[in-house]
């Protein structure tokens, strides 16, 4: 039982790390630009497709990843230039509609370019295999690599946000963007930077999961919704909140699916327990979100002060 718990906990952390990579960029876009972006999930999908394509072209996943990242950044910047910069001043409803339209465009566009069939990416040679945990227990090395890469990114982001001039502007922007602009900072350029960087992080997450999930149209949609849950729990605009909430959501979701039925078996008969468990487990994170909101309507680590 403990072994199962350890394995599922690691899976939960790995899932949480991926959610964090997507959520980190999105929470800054929400927080700093006060803009709702539904199309962030498709950026994750595009990142996965870039990784798959460039891996097939170069024959090596790490090379593919090295090209996919700047490609995702460029893709984000192009979208920002064509569409998003015209939406910053609009109300939320316009942003919802335009980014919803963008999801339709990109999901279909991906189907046209790469076909509707799922693509698979082989796990790179040097990251394959498993590492021993305790006793006979093993864990895939590639998933450990995802966790490590995510943690490194988290540390890098923490340094960037808390110890650089850009980070200072980001934090100031999340609290009061008009004031930052009034102090002579080119807020448009800051927005563009945040957007491109967020697109690259989402693309990075998509590229990292490409070898362990199938790359297919619409793969970003589910992730987008979970990312929203993460951002709502963590507090809009807070990278630290996104990290804590992402790990929390990853753990609750993964452990809930495995242990929900097991725990319920203690209070009801086995078949009813597994049925109820399977039905309730996908709802757990939403219940968690509702509970957090009930006690803290602006999330665990709200970026904005009492004024907002």
């Amino acid at each position: 039982m403990f072994n199962l718990f350890l394995l599922q906990a690691l899976n939960g952390v790995q899932f949480g790390i991926l959610l964090f990579l997507v959520a980190a960029g999105l929470t800054l876009i929400f927080g700093i630009m006060d803009m709702i972006n539904l199309a962030h999930g498709v950026l994750y999908m595009v990142g996965a497709y870039f990784a798959a394509t460039f891996t097939a072209l170069t024959g090596d996943f790490l090379f593919g990843l090295a090209i996919a990242l700047p490609a995702a950044l460029l893709f984000g910047l192009v979208l920002e230039f064509l569409i998003f910069r015209h939406l910053y001043e609009r109300d939320h409803l316009d942003q919802v509609l335009a980014t919803f339209g963008l999801i339709l465009i990109l999901n279909e566009g991906v189907k046209i370019v790469w076909g509707a069939a799922p693509m698979s990416v082989p796990i790179p040679e040097i990251l394959s295999g498993a590492i021993p945990l305790i006793g006979p227990l093993q864990y895939p090395f590639y998933r450990i690599a995802i966790i490590a890469a995510g943690l490194l990114t988290a540390v890098g982001l923490w340094l960037l946000v808390n110890h650089t001039r850009i980070g200072m502007l980001l934090r100031a922007g999340a609290v009061n963007a008009p004031m930052v602009s009034a102090l002579g900072v080119d807020i448009r350029r800051l927005f563009m930077l945040v957007f491109g960087f967020g697109a690259m992080l989402a693309g990075f997450a998509g590229a990292m999961v490409a070898p362990i999930l199938s790359v297919e149209p619409g793969m970003g949609d589910g992730v987008l919704i979970l990312t929203f849950v993460v951002i709502v729990i963590g507090g809009v605009g807070s990278v630290r909140g996104a990290f804590v909430a992402a790990i929390l959501v990853g753990l609750v979701d993964t452990l809930g699916r495995t242990f929900g039925p097991i725990v319920l078996r203690a209070v009801m008969d086995p078949s009813a327990a597994s049925q109820t468990g399977r039905t309730l487990a996908p709802m757990l994170i939403y219940i968690l979100m509702a509970a957090v909101l009930f006690f803290r309507p602006s999330g665990l680590f709200p970026a904005k002060g009492a004024a907002a």
């Binding site: 929400f30 006060d34 803009m35 709702i36 539904l38 569409i83 015209h86 939406l87 001043e89 609009r90 109300d91 939320h92 409803l93 316009d94 919802v96 509609l97 335009a98 919803f100 339209g101 963008l102 999801i103 339709l104 465009i105 990109l106 999901n107 279909e108 566009g109 189907k111 046209i112 949609d221 919704i225 929203f228 849950v229 951002i231 709502v232 809009v236 049925q275 399977r278 039905t279 487990a281 996908p282 709802m283 939403y286 979100m289 509702a290 909101l293 009930f294 309507p297 602006s298």
Partner: protein, 339 residues
């Protein structure tokens, strides 16, 4: 924030700048609605005359989605709450029919009552939590609750799970199969649409509606003069949820099939598109928007399997280059005619 908004509000700007179709408001609105309803009413005989019974099926879908869009407009247009989980109510209503029918209860009145109760309860609980927040939070939370309902139905394997549930027959009324024919189902749906339109018209013109619109324009000022916006917004959210559930009852009967796909977030997005396309904050707008959207969908699907691409491009262009949907376009074309 709402730099290009055509409504100047001093003080606190609401998160969603309200838009009103000037041309389509007031008496013009009632006239336009009467025209649409009469056109729909004479459609079945015409369809029979030209030998195209599929028109009636299509028109029933349009009417059902018009009811759903109408209910969303109460929340979105009159309440300025951008709810992104509205399809969940439609789906819950549809499942109320399918689940009761699978237990042998197929009276439409019982099913509709169950759908209304279920959706009201779901709206009351999720609305009470969602309304504690505003802005982007509200959008994301309603979306998440919609997904919660979706995943609940996906994992409810006793009632079909992901595959959905086929109805063995349409609902009955006091044991009589009155909805069995496509034409009678169409007229029943149309009757619900007309009643919903008249009911919402009375509601939005009442004191309740005026408070709701006041809250939309400036919640802080409404609070200052002694109203509790929360109670009014929650009531509107519950009414809209119940009406969407009723649309779900009709949808289940129309398709004779229910599946979690009815409640997917793309469906919620499409409902928003219908409302905005037609012009929100007008009751005739969402009806026109539903007609336009479903016809457009049907038309684009004829060209290519990638019709969603065209829809997406259209949406992005619509937002970037126009404001306020069809009603907004009409308003700009013919100048301002504010009631």
């Amino acid at each position: 924030m709402s730099a290009g908004s055509d409504v100047a509000v001093s003080g606190a700007v609401p998160d969603v700048a309200p838009r009103r179709g000037g041309m389509l408001a007031g008496r013009g609105s009632a006239l336009a609605a009467a025209l649409i309803f009469s056109a729909l009413a004479v459609l079945p005989p015409i369809a029979l005359a030209i030998g195209d019974p599929f028109l009636v099926v299509m028109a029933t879908r349009i009417v059902v989605f018009a009811i759903a869009a109408l209910s969303l407009d109460l929340v979105l247009g009159y309440g300025a709450m951008v709810s992104f989980g509205h399809a969940a109510f439609v789906g819950l209503g549809a499942y109320a029919v399918a689940i009761l029918a699978s237990h042998g209860i197929d009276d439409v009145l019982v099913q509709a009552l169950a759908a209304i109760l279920l959706c009201s309860l779901f709206a009351l609980v999720t609305g009470a939590i969602s309304l504690r927040t505003k802005g982007v939070y509200f959008i994301m939370i309603t979306l998440a609750f919609g997904q919660m309902a979706y995943f609940f139905m996906v994992s409810l394997s006793a009632y079909g799970g992901d595959d959905g549930l086929t109805l063995s027959a349409r609902s009955t009324l006091f044991g009589l199969p009155v909805l069995a024919g496509d034409i009678s189902l169409f007229y029943a749906s149309l009757a619900v649409l007309v009643l919903a339109f008249l009911g919402l018209r009375a509601l939005t013109l009442s004191r309740f509606g005026r408070v709701l619109r006041g809250t939309r324009e400036n919640p802080i000022r409404m609070q200052a003069i002694g109203f509790q916006p929360f109670a009014f917004q929650l009531t509107a959210y519950v009414i809209a949820g119940a009406l969407a559930g009723l649309a779900g009852v009709l949808l289940a009967n129309q398709a004779e099939f229910v599946s979690p796909a009815y409640m997917s977030w793309q469906r919620s997005g499409e409902l928003i598109v219908m409302v905005v396309l037609g012009g929100m904050g007008t009751l005739v707008g969402p009806i026109g928007g539903a007609i336009a959207f479903l016809l457009l969908e049907d038309w684009l699907a004829h060209f290519s399997e990638h019709w969603k691409l065209g829809l997406g491009v259209l949406l992005v262009l619509l937002v970037l280059f126009t404001r306020g949907g069809i009603a907004g376009g009409v308003e700009r074309l013919f100048g301002r005619a504010r009631p």
